[in-house]
Amino acid sequence: MSDALEVLDQVGKWKASGKDVAIATVITTWGSSPRPVGSQLAVDDTGAMVGSVSGGCIEGAVVKEALASITDGQPRLLDFGVTDEQAWDVGLACGGKVQVFVEKVS
């Protein structure tokens, strides 16, 4: 089964069991980024996750924003890359840049 479908299936299961869920999607990439456009990471309200939006470099920060989105219901557009101030904390070691859209499943 493909990654995208595995993520959606898990989202369906979480929703069916009454959990709140947010989905993060890679919507733009520049340079060498580890995951292609369309890659998704889903997060439930306990912080459990399925899928990926990078090789593990930015998942921590994305989960934090996903939990915030679950709380306030607002979508978010996140930029990650080596030009970012936070490069050393959550940047992409490979030098790529990615833009990630985070939204709550309503």
């Binding site: 292609p36 859209f101 939204e103 499943v105």
Partner: protein
Amino acid sequence: MKSETLKALQEARGNRRAVVLATRLSDAAEALVYADRIAGDLSGDAALAAAARRAMAIGRSETIDLGGQKVFLNVYVPPARLIIVGAVHIAQSLAPMASLMDFDVTVVDPRRAFATDARFPGVKVMQEWADEAMEKMGLDVSTAVVTLTHDPKLDDPALEAALKSDVFYIGALGSKRTHAKRKDRLEEAGITEEQFARIHGPIGLNIGARSPAEIAISILGQIIEVRVRRLEALAAPKAAAA
């Protein structure tokens, strides 16, 4: 994403239908764009529908700008299918490797001793003649067909069926000599030289593969190459025509 949207995406996958989910980034408003219809908050936008269908055709998700608003088009295409004719040793390597590559794999072989679930755990096995099995499954442009039996009465009907369809890849195991004989037989059966040229034979990339697993890798390498080149050509139609 709305819960109804999630259900619609799962339903489209179940029916092997392509769909594009368009999401406006400012407010997460959505539309589901199918080949023949469009649904959701943004369904009135003709420019969006056109852009989404183009993304669907080339199988590539992207962010676009529509009247100053950023919209993300996420393309969900049904998984590619691989039909392996011949439940032979190479197939036992090829089937699980292709599954790892997200192919929906079916192994077809009418011989009872070969086509067993025990030999192919987790893979669809059809103990049938290939041409009949293919007619049931329906061949389409997201399907690849590989024949591995070495036996003309098993391979040839499968190749004929594949050549009459628009499957994106056809490969046949066998040496150059075997392939030349195959050409004679199929031409006698009415297949033209041009049609025959669609068959990759001897199958696979020439990497000196020997063992069944190595041959499976060379076959999958060739399938990846053919698929990528095709999508590149679709994405840049002018360059392809030149």
